[in-house]
Symmetry: C2
Subunit: 247 residues, 2 copies
Amino acid sequence: VAERGAAPAVRIIGFGCHPDHLTPEARAALASCDYVVAAAKSDDDRLLAVRAALCRQVGVELVAVPDPARDRTGPDGHGPRDYDGAVRDWHDARAEAWGAVLAERGGVAGFLVWGDPAFYDSTIRVVDRLGLSYDVVPGISAPQLLAARHRVVLHEVGRPVLFTTGRRLLADAVGHDNLVVMLDGSLTCRRLSGEWDIWWGANLGTSSERLVSGPLAAVLPEIESARAAAKADAGWVMDTYLVRRAS
Amino acid sequence: VAERGAAPAVRIIGFGCHPDHLTPEARAALASCDYVVAAAKSDDDRLLAVRAALCRQVGVELVAVPDPARDRTGPDGHGPRDYDGAVRDWHDARAEAWGAVLAERGGVAGFLVWGDPAFYDSTIRVVDRLGLSYDVVPGISAPQLLAARHRVVLHEVGRPVLFTTGRRLLADAVGHDNLVVMLDGSLTCRRLSGEWDIWWGANLGTSSERLVSGPLAAVLPEIESARAAAKADAGWVMDTYLVRRAS
């Protein structure tokens, strides 16, 4: 929005959940980059394809960098016991891979972040390790698109909302009655006790988008089949939901 | 992003914190409106002027509707004892005023929401009372711009973040170590106990923007003078901040 001193060496750009979310600010930031660095997680990375399409649209080269493996093993299907340590190792490995590309190429490197870099995304933390100047451009996040689709405010009047992860939901639901859940690979809301309402969405902003809302216990079967359908459509599924204790 | 059935009678459009935040989706939604309804809070409403500029840019008429008074009296300077009741009355009065304009004019009415309609904004709740079809378009919210300016993620790795209000901060800070505060007219963070870090911003996205970050106790004087300077510049001040318990 405002220019702040010299041009940064790295620009971290949130692009939202759909090409129609790319703000004029984000588009200008992307166009100012000499190239965009993107993590390639496999030969068939559909999230990479979305970034490639944006780069083609704006006329910026995309450099795909193989993504270091992340330790996700663990006794309970929810990742390693030393979660923070595993994440830190992964961030270090990403920083090393990205730093090598930036050192070789020089110029201004862009990173395109799905949604907003401010929520459950590691790009800021990884780039911060590189010791280069950088700036950040916000984008529309999945919880915001979820709220827009369901036409809800993410909290009740004057009340708080907790943004948390699937891994922490059951603990955080004690003492909270209004939570937005991200990074939940296994519909942890199935194990909530008590009466809840849910506003759920998968693959928001894509052609495989699915939306379900209602009393949690009643709509769970519908969510499970919608989630499977989204995955069948797209080859991947990312879901986000709001749960609120029924009054 | 996607067309859903017949054209709605009302479109609630988040426009972010700066004209460069207006997404292509929001611009198209705005252009599809026959007119935009905006609350006029006084003869010198600078928030109204921003909406008027957006409407001129896209070529849509703006209809200013005098905003009903809201009961903000109360024994402790934090509003009436029956907070929810006062808000409900205000929403009812707004719905009546807006409904009258929509009934007289017909067509497709737009509402331009500063930031995102999903956070601490009453537009969805008021429009929902009108019984008309409507849709919602998300926008970049102030906490997101705050995070981008300070180049931070709004939570620590895998941890939650509570979005709350100034009115509730002191109670919510018990048991939370990472909070985003909105709607705080009186820098309630001054009364937090314990050691905290703060990332603070006022009038984000405008020419009177101010940013301060650091250990709360150390930077409070700087925040107080920056807040006063933002208000002197703009004639109004709206601040948003992230507080995190120091580790």
